[in-house]
Structures are given as structure tokens and as C-alpha cells.
Amino acid sequence: MSTMAKTSAGGAGLRITAREARNLLAGALIVVAAGFVPLLFSGYVLQVAISIVMYTAFATSWLLFSGPTNYIALSTAAFFGIGMYVTAAGIDLAPYPVLILASGVAGALLAAVMGLATLRVSGVYFVIFSLGLAELVRQIMTWGQHVFGTMSGLYVTIDRSEPMYYWQLLLLAAVIFLVGWWIGRSRLGFALRIIGNDEVVAVHCGINTARAKVILFVISSTFASIVGALVAPRWGYVEPVVAFNPSLSFQVVIMALLGGTHRLWGPLLGVIPFTLLWELISIEFPDQTTLLLGVCFLLIVYVIPNGITGLVEDALSRRAGHGGPVGDTLSRGAHGVIGSVRTLLQGRKRHNA
């Protein structure tokens, strides 16, 4: 019986429904269309476009872990900085593609250590650990450079044109979307949604919650490190204070929240308006950026807690005349499982009493 259930679940994992095929095709078309941007624009517009694609990669990879589990990761800057540093340190030793891989591996290792230490316990410890991670790695890097007597910064000299950066980041963002889509329909994604809804229930379902969380956090952080490796040559000069700038972590969270964290494409809707707004703020109020960032953040948390996707879906469901939110079958399934396990647990508690 159980093997039958397993094979049928595995089968569902491979089969692609017509709706999914349509979504995939639409996604591919959007990526191809976005690929034409550097051919049409250059200069400032292309710079902003590069920012948008970069933050899309960041925010979507952040969402892979923090979206379903509700564990707020504030460590993007640490992984980004690691990627930059691995690339900068190895630039004379190994070819660039190898360095990109090495950056991903370094990020994955750090994420695994952090995940194994914190994700077995409670969510708060994870948030606290992630809050200072960028500062910790920065201190260690500064110390390391001091001990080994190298300069405080490193030069990264590879010749890459601006369109090339754009395409690389676009490709990475597309890969992140594919991975996210695949996780969403896998057993792992299902497990994570249950964890996000109720961790006790997840444990009682027989889910190895720590393993699922660590795997996802490693995947998410690996992508952030790879972005660092892709962007390092564009900056040319890498030093600790710039590479581990904590406001990056902040911006990524704010964009993902603005877009909405319960849909894979949510961050995209947050990244585009926020990057444009941010450009405007940096030009108009260069001295008050931190303050205004904080204000934007509070506005999002208080006024639109479900993000733009939440607003859009509310509007759609109201127009369609549905009573409640539509919700896909998978999350409905998760709710069903949680409901029934909860009843079971309560029943047992009553029984024991």
C-alpha cells in the first residue's frame, strides 16, 4: 500500500500537466524576451536592468528557503561576500568557471555548518545567527588578510562586457526559478510547506524536518554565493567593508516581502518596483537612504503583509466571486494533512488524560 502511494507520488512528480506546461512556456518566453534588453538599451538603463536581474536572483533564492518555512534569513550579504572573495582570491590560480563553482561550494559549506547548528533547534536561533553572519565573516576575512599580510582589498581582473553580466545573471535567475519550480512539486517542497504551517505536525508526519530545512537553506545560499562570483569582476576591487555590506541582506528581504513570499514569482513583482524606487531614492536623497529603507520596510510589514501577489490574488478572487483565496492543490493538500494530524494528536491527548 505504502509503496503504491510512493510510486504514484513519484509518477505525479514526473508528469507535467497542461497548465504547468503553459506556465513553463510563458516563463521561457519571458526569459528570452528579457534577454533582448542589452541589445536594445545601454548605459544607465542597462545598469538598472542588471540590478533588477541580480536582485531577482537574490530574492528568489531567498524565497526558496524563507518562503515556505517562514524562517527569515538575514544572511544574504554573507554568502554574496563569500562568493566574491572566493572569486577574487582565486582569480590568478584557476579559470573563472571553476571559481564560480568553487564559490557555490564555499557558500554551500558555510550554509551547511550554519544550518546544522541552528536549524535543529528553533527558528529564532537561526534568525539571530544569520543576523550577524555577514559581520562575523567580515571580521574573519579582515583578520585573515591582516595575518597573511595581504592588502585589505583584492583586484578581480577579467574582461567582461555589461551585456555579458546581464546574460549571466539572467541565466542564473532562470535556473533558480526552475529549481524553485521543481522543489515546489517535489516531496521536499511539500515537506517544507508542512513545516512552515506547523512544525510539530511535520515531525509527527515522519518528516525529518532538520534535514529538509538544511537542504533547502544550502540550495538557497549556494545561489547567493554564485551571484557574488558573477558580480565580482564587475566591481573590479573587492574589500571586506563593501563585500559584506549588511544592507544587501536587508534589501533582499524587503523586495521579497514587497512582492509576496507565498508565490515563486512573488519576488519578481517586488524587485522591479523597489529597484526603480531605490534608484530614485539614491539620487534624490543620497544621505537619507538608510532611514527611507527602514520606512519602506515598516510600510510593507504593516500595510501589505502579503505583498503585491497577495493584493493581486485578493483582487482576482474578489472579481471571480470566490469566497476564499484560490490556493493550489498542493497547499490545500498540506492543510488537509495538518488538519487530520492535529485532530489525531488532540484525540490522543484527550485519550491520555
Binding site: 536561533y125 539571530i128 571580521q139 544621505d287 504593516y302
Partner: protein
């Protein structure tokens, strides 16, 4: 010997700062990521007061504590309470309050940069030496330690000997049961949050007497306070004091023996050990 004494002096001041967070997290159940910014605000208050009057920064406590209390009360009323009401569960409240206070910390930094600038700040108060066991130490460190010890003792006695303190401890142990014995939980939580902010700001005043700080340095103190609270056990004041001394010693040892730039690494190593060995903290109760 140096390490032990400097570490104890530092730990004594850390104890005050961590007690502030303990009140906010242990009693009011709000994970306040803007705690370190409140500390830096207190430090700037002392700096500004000292520059203006040349009087002892300890006198700055007289206005920093009430101001910080009022400000934190207002923060709780305006920003946190809507989240408490909106939250469907403790977990949701935790996520929301983490996000809100994280945003708040950036607002604080922005305001402080606008008012005081982004440069490193320090001032020389009582920077004459004092001899303990034949070694030289800064008098300002000793004075800050004594002031912190006095405040901590006062707070401890207040918590354990008065009815209001008892109410606070009751809410810390179990908010819903505290409500049953006619403690106004909402009011007590707001009070604990405000008091915690005031205590943290007082810690900032004392730390500013011998540490260099800048507007964006708060996050480091938030982390240290959090790690002390977790190490000591959430909701346990004794644990907080012991843990503050442990962190002070560990940090001073790393700073003296390896590199002064690695203090955060010392805190993280302690954090890792706690997480791996005893996640509920030294004095914490293991929850089922």
C-alpha cells in the same frame, strides 16, 4: 590576570545591556532586533551630554533612562501592539516582530547618522589609570562596572521583592496563567518592553564611557545581548548575569590573545557551543 579583570569589567556592563533584552524577549516576548540601536542611542545621548556640559556622563542616565522608557513605551503601543493583535499564533508574531524591529533598527540608524554623523565617536572621561593588583586599568571601566552593578542589583531586587516585579516574572513564566490571577498581561508586557529599552539605553551610556562606537554599530550589540540571553537561558536573570561575564571573559581573551577585531567570533563560538550542547541555556528549563 589582565584578561580576567578586564573581562569581568566588560561582562558587568554587558550584563546590564543583556538584562534590557531579557526583559523585552523574556517577559514581553518580543524579539527586538533594534535593541542594539537603542543602546547606541543611549551612548550618543551620553556623548552629547558630556560634550555640552563636561559633567559626568553618569548624570546623563538621569535623562536617558526616562526618555528611553517613554520612547520604548511608544514603540510598543504604536508598532508592536497591532502586531500582537493581528498575530494568529506565537510563531507568526515572532516573524512579524522580527521584521518590524529589523525595519525599525534601520530607521534608528538613519536618524542617528543624520543627527550625529556616521564617523566613529568617543570621548575621554576619567581616562586616568587605576591600579588593581599592581596592574593599570582605565578608571572609566571601573566606574562603568560599578554603576552597572548598582543598576543590575537594583533591578534584581526590584524584580524579586516587589509586587510589580513579581507580576513581571509571572508573565515571563506563563502569560495566560498570569492573566488568570488578575495580572494585566498587556500592560505588564508594555511596561517590560519599555523598561527593557530603558535598561539597554543605560547600558549604552555606561559602555560609551570607554568604547568607540558609530551609528551603525548597534547590530553587534544586539547580537551580543541575544547571545548572552540565550546562553543564560530565556527568562532567567541569574543566567543572564553569569552569561554576560562568560561573554566578557571570552571576548577579552580573544581580543588580547588573538586579535581585537575578532570579538564577534568569540561570541559566535559561544553561541555554537550553546546550540550544540545545551540549546535551552545554562539556567533554562528544557521545554517539552
Amino acid at each position: 590576570m589582565d584578561i580576567v579583570i578586564i573581562g569581568l569589567l566588560l561582562g558587568g556592563t554587558y550584563a546590564l545591556m543583556a538584562m534590557g533584552l531579557q526583559l523585552q524577549y523574556g517577559v514581553a516576548r518580543i524579539m527586538n532586533l533594534a535593541n542594539g540601536e537603542m543602546l547606541i542611542a543611549g551612548a550618543f545621548g551620553a556623548f552629547w551630554f558630556y560634550l555640552g556640559t563636561k559633567a559626568s556622563p553618569l548624570l546623563a542616565l538621569l535623562f536617558v533612562i526616562p526618555l528611553a522608557f517613554a520612547l520604548n513605551w511608544a514603540i510598543y503601543r504604536v508598532l508592536i501592539l497591532p502586531l500582537v493583535r493581528r498575530a494568529k499564533s506565537q510563531g507568526k508574531l515572532e516573524v512579524d516582530s522580527i521584521l518590524a524591529t529589523f525595519g525599525l533598527s534601520f530607521i534608528f540608524i538613519g536618524i542617528m547618522v543624520a543627527v550625529f554623523g556616521a564617523q566613529y565617536t568617543d570621548y575621554a572621561y576619567l581616562s586616568e589609570p587605576i591600579f588593581i593588583f599592581g596592574e593599570r586599568y582605565g578608571l572609566n571601566r571601573v566606574v562603568a562596572f560599578l554603576a552597572s552593578a548598582a543598576l543590575c542589583t537594583g533591578l534584581y531586587v526590584w524584580l524579586h521583592k516587589t509586587r510589580a516585579g513579581l507580576a513581571l516574572r509571572a508573565v515571563s513564566v506563563n502569560p495566560s496563567a498570569a492573566g488568570l490571577v488578575s495580572i494585566n498581561v498587556a500592560r505588564t508586557s508594555a511596561f517590560a518592553f519599555a523598561l527593557g529599552g530603558a535598561v539597554t539605553a543605560a547600558g549604552g551610556v555606561l559602555l560609551s564611557m570607554y568604547l568607540t562606537f558609530d551609528a551603525s554599530y548597534g547590530v553587534v550589540f544586539t547580537l551580543k545581548a541575544l547571545i548572552i540571553v540565550i546562553l543564560g537561558g530565556v527568562g532567567d536573570i541569574r543566567g543572564t548575569i553569569v552569561a554576560a561575564f562568560i561573554l566578557g571573559l571570552a571576548e577579552t581573551a580573544v581580543a588580547t590573545l588573538i586579535d581585537p577585531g575578532l570579538t564577534l567570533a568569540a561570541a559566535y563560538i559561544l553561541f555554537m557551543i550553546v546550540l550544540l550542547v545545551r540549546p535551552e541555556g545554562l539556567f533554562g528549563r528544557r521545554t517539552a
